[in-house]
Symmetry: C2
């Protein structure tokens, strides 16, 4: 007796990934089955490897394959700058831009009264310890421009007042952005922070 | 020396699946790593199982885990009706609607002069053989309502003229559809096929 139980299970699991739904999961699974040598087998293997090796960096919270991630491990990145982000995805986004050559600290979220997230739930005590231990001279807060993100930024700036220079990302018009599509808050922020050219 | 090579490889492979891009692949991979026990490990295992067991049904072209799929294997489905679809995804869509209780035949595409796809590239010779071998009384052409789909339907109807009753899916207004959003061709087809109520 034959069965498609495993195929159905695979579709169901794929459909639960963020960004995929039942329809796209079915398409992806059919595609994978058709190209099993090029896609399905290697994907299964690399997933098993990642599942066995991926871990959070004990220092900064980045995801890598060792207890201390590549960035924390690199002496070249110890330039006194520490960039604070909410999430590993934000760290990866910063790295893609290649604009920052210091180290990171991943908070793992933002303070939130509504969700009862306090400083102890995030990596804020560890952040404060790192500022002294690693001789940080500038703390760059690259948090999302949401209410919770700004609350968290202010809390961190308060905690470290006078001990280190604290900066945050500039707000303004996105590169390539059209004014017509921007919200009022962004236009106001860009106007207030206008520069001579 | 630590490395994120495997994580990058996983993101790159996921990004090549239909329906996913680099951004959604990164999100999916971070999500999988965070929930490795619930998602990453089981997903890797079920992929390996599917890669080892999935195969095309030798009779109809459906994808299952045996040489003859569940539907071709079921005597209850041998009701004399054979539904012809382009692709396995179409067969799955028909099965979800549960409206059809006969067997299927997956062509594997449509005839296309542009892409040099002739009857021999599809499962058309096998289809013609099945009509006699399985005592088919009605052939239901459930092909996509595209130019190539309709060309293929006419070709098959021509080949089997006089040997079997050939029908095709009705064209009209989709259930729940709003006239305002329909194209002219669909409205014309629905008008021409109007029914007394």
């Amino acid at each position: 007796m034959s069965s498609t139980r495993d195929i159905d299970a695979l579709i169901e699991m794929m459909a639960r990934l963020p960004g995929l739904g039942p329809r796209s999961a079915r398409r992806a699974v059919l595609h994978m089955i058709r190209k099993r040598a090029q896609i399905l087998n290697p994907l299964s293997e690399v997933m098993a490897t990642v599942a066995a090796t991926a871990r959070e960096c004990l220092n900064c919270g980045n995801i890598g394959t060792a207890d201390i991630c590549d960035i924390c491990d690199s002496e070249a990145r110890a330039n006194g700058q520490l960039c604070v982000v909410e999430d590993v995805a934000d760290l990866w986004a910063m790295e893609r831009s290649q604009v920052f050559r210091g180290r990171y600290h991943v908070l793992g979220g933002t303070l939130s009264a509504l969700d009862a997230v306090g400083p102890e739930e995030l990596r804020i005590p560890k952040l404060i310890a790192r500022v002294d231990a690693e001789g940080i001279t500038e703390l760059i807060l690259a948090l999302n421009a949401t209410v919770d993100g700004m609350t968290t930024a202010h809390y961190i700036a308060d905690q470290l007042e006078g001990r280190v220079r604290v900066t945050s990302l500039a707000q303004g018009v996105p590169v390539g952005g059209e004014l017509d599509y921007l919200d009022d808050g962004t236009i106001t922020a860009a106007m207030n922070a206008r520069k001579s050219i």
